[in-house]
Point group: C2
Chain length 228, copies 2
């Protein structure tokens, strides 16, 4: 059963704390240079380089050269989903000895999760959309309703571009700070992109955290009734 070996290889790649640091940083959705990842990994440049080579060899991350920089990113959405799946299991495992690390407020407030929003922002948006009947979420999937399609259209999110099919599904993604699902998948990605385009949010320099701009404060309040 040689498939099993391949599965173990993939899992073993994720099974190292240093590499998880790297992958977690890349789950911010941006491509990062090796130097930036050295910081995220918390080990020497040589060691980081070795880890990056392993991850790239296993096709978990991809690399593009640009001048003397090398930008690394999560290879495919499927890899991102796999990581989300592992996180979901890691989160709902009982306390053990997790001293509830007080990760900074910005991070738990708003951050990116590969290509969509997470944290209080992500969960808040999802709640509002569900309450207003724009989306329907269940454990295994979700769907954008007719009113939702209209709303997204008016908001400037082009769902048709993301989906050639008639029905628009969306994937719930378990939030590891809020421990509740938030909107993921292509719909979540499109929504996030639109918010960036509107200038409502800005990425922090060395973190997955997001800062909400003045325009964002106003926009989120007016459009979604959210104040963060």
């Amino acid at each position: 059963m040689t498939e099993d070996v391949r599965i173990a290889e993939i899992a073993a790649l994720v099974g190292d704390p240093t590499r998880v640091n790297i992958l977690a940083a890349l789950m911010g959705g941006r491509a990062l240079t090796a130097s930036e990842l050295v910081y995220a990994a918390g080990v020497s440049p040589q060691t980081t380089s070795g880890h990056l080579a392993k991850l790239a060899d296993g096709r978990l991350i991809a690399c593009v050269k640009q001048g003397r920089h090398r930008y690394y990113r999560i290879a495919t959405p499927r890899v991102a989903e796999m990581l989300e799946g592992i996180m979901a299991v890691a989160v709902d495992a009982p306390a053990r000895h997790r001293p509830r690390s007080k990760l900074d407020d910005a991070m738990s407030n708003a951050r990116t999760c590969y290509d969509h929003f997470a944290g209080k922002l992500g969960v808040g948006l999802t709640d509002v959309l569900a309450t207003r009947g724009h989306i329907v979420l269940a454990d295994e999937g979700g769907e954008v309703t007719e009113s939702g399609a209209a709303f997204f259209g008016k908001f400037g999110v082009d769902l048709a571009a993301a989906h050639s099919r008639r029905r628009i599904f969306c994937r719930p993604c378990l939030d590891w700070t809020e421990r509740r699902p938030h909107l993921g998948g292509s719909v979540g990605a499109a929504l996030a992109q639109r918010c960036f385009d509107l200038g409502w949010l800005e990425r922090a320099r060395d973190s997955r955290a997001l800062s909400i701009t003045k325009a964002g404060q106003r926009g989120l309040s007016e459009t979604f009734g959210l104040s963060l």
Copy 2:
């Protein structure tokens, strides 16, 4: 970031070929004794016992004592989903040196994938249901249509029991032999259960493979137009 460590712990548990053998065996959906898992693992009883203890400690598997036997099973559906996610990544990684192991025909023909069908049977059923408009599948999710709900009802699958909500979603699960999605989630599980109840399929003794009974041949042909 102590969450990262927990993620690495989980992944590291899956990152050992022997433990993958064990988990893969348990992905058949049945609870198995330690002895049976010794066979699946391919190592000594002592070593297997150690692995089982680690997996149980990490909450990936659960154990119930019954007489002098200990039955192990996948702990939660979420763990099963995580494993499916890892498999999906392992599968779509390019060839490398995978000598296309000719796993026995029975296995690729019909097998269980945690709680639903996979292999030619799983993919075939899914195709038929989709073609007839009983389900709609997309990359990120799926849904049972009205005609589908009627069909399942007539077939004896009680979808209402599985879902209190109005809409019935279903999860596509990437098949690692067929490399195409098959019907997973609660709908897939309910469908599989009904087929077992009808006596259409029987589990093999020491494998995830399924054998199709005479009644199953007839039933699958009449109801779904499938001949395997």
